[in-house]
């Protein structure tokens, strides 16, 4: 799947083409052609900068994961908004150590970002030489529930997506 020097980054190229069309706000043949050229050329130039990219990505689980994430973000926002608007003295903040099952920098990063984007949690640090995350949560009743939620809802699907 990871191809030649000429076309080193098929996902990236596709992604760039999409971005280009978004940027120019048009799907005219000219722009398609220009976008394709750029989508091929730019990865050639920047190939060296992204050598540790994920080798294989499973698209379907990725789409599902994205959907779940978007939904959770909306929910999280409402929850956090409520927390913020409520009296702050009621909040129970906590630092939580989250032991990772995932491997691979990219996958861990995606998980960390997901945690930061979702309900009341922020990945504060990567600890234990990359085997755990330190999470700050705005309001936690039960630490283990939170860990379990993250594990089930995000980490496992990511393992599937990145096959690691």
């Amino acid at each position: 799947m990871n191809g030649s020097r000429l076309f080193p980054h098929p996902y990236l190229s596709g992604f760039l083409l999409l971005i280009w069309l978004l940027l120019v706000n048009s799907v005219s043949p000219g722009q398609l052609l220009l976008g394709a050229v750029l989508a091929i050329l730019i990865p050639v130039f920047t190939n060296a900068f992204w050598t540790d990219r994920p080798h294989a990505v499973r698209l379907l689980p990725l789409l599902r994961y994205t959907g779940v994430l978007l939904f959770d973000i909306v929910v999280a926002n409402i929850q956090v908004a409520a927390l913020i608007l409520g009296p702050s003295s009621r909040l129970q903040p906590a630092f939580i150590y989250y032991p990772l099952e995932l491997e691979g920098e990219f996958a861990v990063t995606v998980l960390a970002s997901t945690i930061s984007l979702t309900p009341g949690t922020v990945t504060a640090d990567v600890v234990d030489e990359g085997r755990g995350l330190l999470i700050h949560a705005l309001d936690v009743d039960d630490e283990s529930t939170l860990i379990a939620t993250i594990r089930e809802r995000y980490e496992r699907p990511l393992k599937e997506i990145f096959q690691c």
Partner: protein, 933 residues
């Protein structure tokens, strides 16, 4: 007539000055010959054209040089000029001969002759110039060349100081003379003597005559060492004796009295002239004579005697009578001959005995009878003894002092003073003879004296012979020259005068007798007088005084300079800013400020933005001592400014402001790392208050200007650009079309500035060793995680994304907001993010571009795009564009301006990365060494 001989005569010594330094390698005699031949050649030229002058004709060479400014190269040989030219060249020749034997082996002979010839040429120029500006040129040259001559023995402090003293006094006098001459030229309407000498009445009637006279006389008196400017002359005695013999007999000091003689028809005859010139002459005459007696140094005696005799000549011209002028000219001749020979004799004595101190020199008659005889003749002439030439002119002088009537009942004071000076002159002349050649035996002389080499005496013999010939048979010798010289000085028919030795027993003869007897008596009483003099006159050294005063002036100058330039940027900045405020205030003062336009409504968001802007600007300032905090505040200012650009429909500006601000902040942080994190509280309350006032005034000034402009309508060239942008520039985004087309030249300059700055920065950073802080400002060790993983992982895919955006911005710039500059900054920032997230080494491994070359290539591309238009016969930077159609792709436009913009892009990427990466690299070595991660 051979009028072009005149400039040639003047030029010869100047050109010839090159010869002695060349010939000195072939020996001292050859060197002297080269100088002598040049002089002889000039003299021969002079004599070849001299004959008509004796008939009252004159020779004129004229070349219109700068007619608009009255500056012509006009030379003139009349009687006066001839006389002086003869003295200059004749005595010059003798001095050259004399110097050949005077100089020691160690003295660089070529240099002396070169300087001497330069001086000779300058003097010839002074006396032969007809145009006063031309004369002025040579006048200053005499000061300069005499400076070199006096300072010839540069290893001696007295020579150096004497030379500088002479230059300063005569140079300053020369500039005064210059002013006087310019005024004279203004009054007389010309700088040509032919015009000026004929308009004496008009000149003297002019209201500026007094100022003109004073200025000119300042030049004359300084040059001729008249009181109170006489003090430089004795110190000029530090020069080798041939130089003294030349400068102080026939030339340098005579330049002043020459000018008196020369300008006589134009300037003389007024009461002011009499009082200024006469008084100065009389005072100088007496003072010089007095001090001459008390000098123990042979040359010192001669120096003051010179001052005194110059005073005499000055007094004679000051009388303002034609016969006074005749006597003055005559005494110029006589003084030149006897004084030159006396200096040479003194030089021989010095040379052969090793000292010039008359208290040591005694009884030299036994050792050098020949020289003694010569010296005695010359001294007798100086004393005014009959049968010697000095007597004749002194008699005429005495006679003239009796014939003036300016002073009324005080008329007697002139003959009295003249006689008194005569008494002193006789006394010091006797001293010169008796103290040196008789008066017992010499007292520990450094050397046993003996007669000098044969040829060293020849010049003295010639001069002494002249003294005698003129003194005995004036009518057969000097008469024609004197007649023509005096006549041309007076500028009119001369009244009859008689050069006979004996006119019968008259008052002048009595005065002479009185002077002789009085002088003898005075010399006899000399020891009492010396004691008396020592009681009342502390030994007083003008040179030391000058040096001390000069040091004091220099100290004051240094103090003043230090006071002004105290090296404080804060003060300089304050002056600049205060001046700016003053300029704006002066410009706006008393004129209407506001214009007719309505100020326009303010909406709420704008107000909030304004508030945010003001607040963050103020907090930046208040907290400037906490640098990082202030930096954050400053970024808020930058952000709001770019939002303001959006608010007022200037997207290109907003984009640029945003990207530049980010690069700036990164830059500042890169630098701040090495600097103190806090600014010490060192401004006093007073200073802060003052600065707040200045800041307030500056802010108010700019606000007033803004208000004034914003409330006025105007007509702008911008409308033209709006119309022409598409048809002429091929782009819809007018701002961009201005940048790359209408005013592309500005942009070319701008990227050049960027490139130069980057080059300069990199140059500055080379070899810079900075202490890297081990802890942060609070003493906390730095975090150990150099490249946080999550940041690194996310940053990497952002690079292709950013490049895509950059290409997007670059391509659309011509029609929509964007352009090469913004695209360049986006690219640079994306790359810098890689540096931040993954490190310099990591990034450099992956991007192998020489940023200097990239920058240069960018500017080259822009410039070549500009040059491309030459090929089509259009001026630099003329753009062209066209619309094209390709199947599948559709319509698109290509413009050379896009190529130009690509150059801009490359230059921006290159220079930004050049700066940031090099700043970042500063720590690399040290950190890796200590942390070893």
């Amino acid at each position: 007539m051979n009028s072009y001989f005149l400039p040639l005569i003047v030029a010869l010594p100047f050109l010839g000055a090159l010869l002695p330094p060349l010939f000195v390698r072939r020996g001292r005699t050859a060197c002297a010959w080269s100088a002598a031949l040049v002089t002889a050649a000039a003299l021969a030229l002079l004599l070849s054209v001299a004959a008509p002058v004796f008939d009252g004709d004159s020779l004129l060479f004229h070349y219109d040089w700068l007619p608009a400014y009255g500056f012509s190269l006009t030379f003139w040989l009349d009687g006066l000029g001839l006389l002086f030219a003869l003295l200059i060249l004749g005595i010059g020749l003798l001095v050259i001969l004399y110097a050949r034997y005077y100089l020691s082996e160690q003295d660089p002979m070529g240099r002396l002759y070169a300087f001497l010839l330069l001086f000779m040429g300058s003097m010839l120029g002074v006396v032969l110039s007809e145009n006063l500006l031309l004369m002025m040129v040579f006048w200053e040259l005499t000061s300069l060349s005499s400076f070199l001559l006096i300072g010839y023995w540069k290893h001696r402090a007295d020579a150096r100081q004497g030379a500088r003293l002479a230059l300063t006094v005569t140079g300053a006098g020369g500039l005064s003379l210059f002013a006087g001459i310019m005024l004279l030229g203004h009054i007389g309407g010309s700088y040509e003597l032919s015009v000026l000498l004929a308009s004496g009445d008009q000149i003297q009637a002019h209201p500026l005559y007094p100022a003109t006279l004073v200025l000119i006389l300042l030049g004359v008196f300084t040059k001729s060492a008249q009181f109170p400017f006489h003090f430089w002359l004795p110190h000029a005695m530090a020069a080798p004796t041939p130089v003294s013999a030349y400068l102080h007999s026939a030339t340098m000091v005579k330049a002043g009295v020459f000018l008196l003689a020369r300008l006589y028809p134009a300037m003389a005859g007024s009461e002011l002239w009499f009082y200024l010139v006469g008084t100065t002459g009389m005072v100088t005459l007496l003072l010089g004579a007095y001090f001459a007696l008390f000098k123990h140094d042979l040359k010192g005696l001669l120096a003051y005697s010179t001052i005194s005799h110059l005073g005499l000549i000055t007094l004679l011209f000051g009388l303002g009578t034609p016969l006074g002028a005749v006597a003055g000219v005559f005494h110029i001749i006589n003084h030149a001959t006897f004084k030159a020979s006396l200096f040479m004799a003194a030089g021989i004595i010095d040379h052969e005995s090793g000292t010039r101190d008359m208290r040591k020199l005694n009884g030299l008659w036994h050792y050098m009878p020949h020289t003694a005889t010569l010296a005695m003749v010359a001294a007798a002439s100086m004393a005014g003894v009959p049968l010697f030439n000095g007597f004749l002119s002194k008699e005429m002088f005495f006679a003239e002092t009796l014939h003036q009537g300016w002073l009324g009942e005080w008329n007697w004071i002139l003959p009295f003073g003249a006689t008194l000076a005569g008494v002193f002159a006789v006394a010091y002349s006797i001293r010169f003879i008796h103290d040196v050649f008789f008066n017992g035996e010499p007292i520990d002389l450094p050397r046993t004296p003996h007669e000098p080499p044969r040829y060293m005496k020849v010049p003295v013999e010639i001069l002494v012979a002249l003294c005698l010939l003129v003194g005995i048979v004036p009518a057969w010798t000097v008469a024609p020259l004197l007649a023509t010289a005096a006549a041309s000085s007076v500028g009119a028919e001369l009244p009859p005068y008689n050069l006979a030795i004996w006119h019968g027993l008259n008052t002048p003869v009595l005065m002479s007798v009185l002077a002789m007897v009085g002088g003898g008596v005075m010399y006899a009483m000399r020891h009492h007088l010396f004691a008396l003099h020592a009681r009342f006159f502390r030994p007083f050294d003008a040179k030391l005084l000058f040096e001390r005063q000069l040091e004091r002036v220099i100290a004051a100058a240094r103090w003043l300079t230090m006071m002004l330039e105290n090296g404080s940027l804060q003060r300089y900045m304050m002056l600049l800013l205060l001046s700016a405020v003053a300029m704006v205030a002066a410009g706006l003062w008393g004129r209407p400020l506001g214009g007719p336009l309505a100020p326009g409504e303010v909406d709420g968001v704008t107000l909030v933005g304004a508030l945010a802007l003001a607040l963050s600007a103020v907090t930046t300032t208040i907290w400037h001592r906490r640098r990082l905090v202030a930096l954050i505040q400053l970024s808020v200012v930058g952000l709001v400014v770019s939002v303001a650009f959006v608010r007022f429909a200037a997207p290109d500006l907003a984009l640029t402001q945003l990207s530049v601000e980010m690069v700036t902040i990164i830059l500042l942080m890169l630098v701040l790392y090495f600097l103190p994190q806090q600014t010490p509280a060192e401004s006093s309350g007073l200073r802060k208050g003052r600065d707040i006032l200045i800041a307030g005034a500056a802010g108010t000034s700019v606000a007033l200007l803004a208000w004034g402009v914003l409330t006025r309508p105007y007509e702008t060239i911008g409308d033209y650009f709006m119309e022409q942008s598409i048809p002429g520039g091929g782009g819809a985004n007018v701002v961009n079309v201005i940048l790359v087309d209408f005013r592309g030249f500005d942009t070319l300059g701008e990227i050049t500035v960027l490139a130069i700055a980057a080059i300069g920065i990199v140059t500055m950073l080379r070899g810079l060793r900075l202490p890297t802080p081990d802890t942060d400002a609070d003493g906390r060790p730095w975090a150990s995680d150099r490249y946080p993983m999550i940041l690194a992982v996310i940053s990497r895919p952002l690079l292709p994304l950013a490049l895509l955006v950059a290409v997007f911005l670059l391509l659309r710039g011509h029609n929509l907001p964007g352009g090469g500059f913004i695209a360049g900054l986006v690219t640079a920032i994306a790359l810098i993010l890689q540096y931040v997230a993954s490190g310099t080494a990591w990034t450099r491994e992956r991007i192998n571009i020489n940023y200097v070359r990239l920058t240069a290539a960018g500017v080259v591309l822009a410039a070549l795009t500009g040059l491309g238009s030459w090929g089509f016969g259009y001026p630099f930077l003329t753009s062209s564009f066209g619309h094209f159609h390709l199947p599948l792709v559709g319509d698109f436009e290509l413009a050379t301006a896009m190529l130009f913009d690509l150059g801009v892009y490359m230059a921006v990427v290159g220079s930004t990365l050049l700066v940031l990466a090099n700043l970042g690299k500063l720590t690399l070595t040290k950190r890796e060494a200590t942390e070893g991660e």
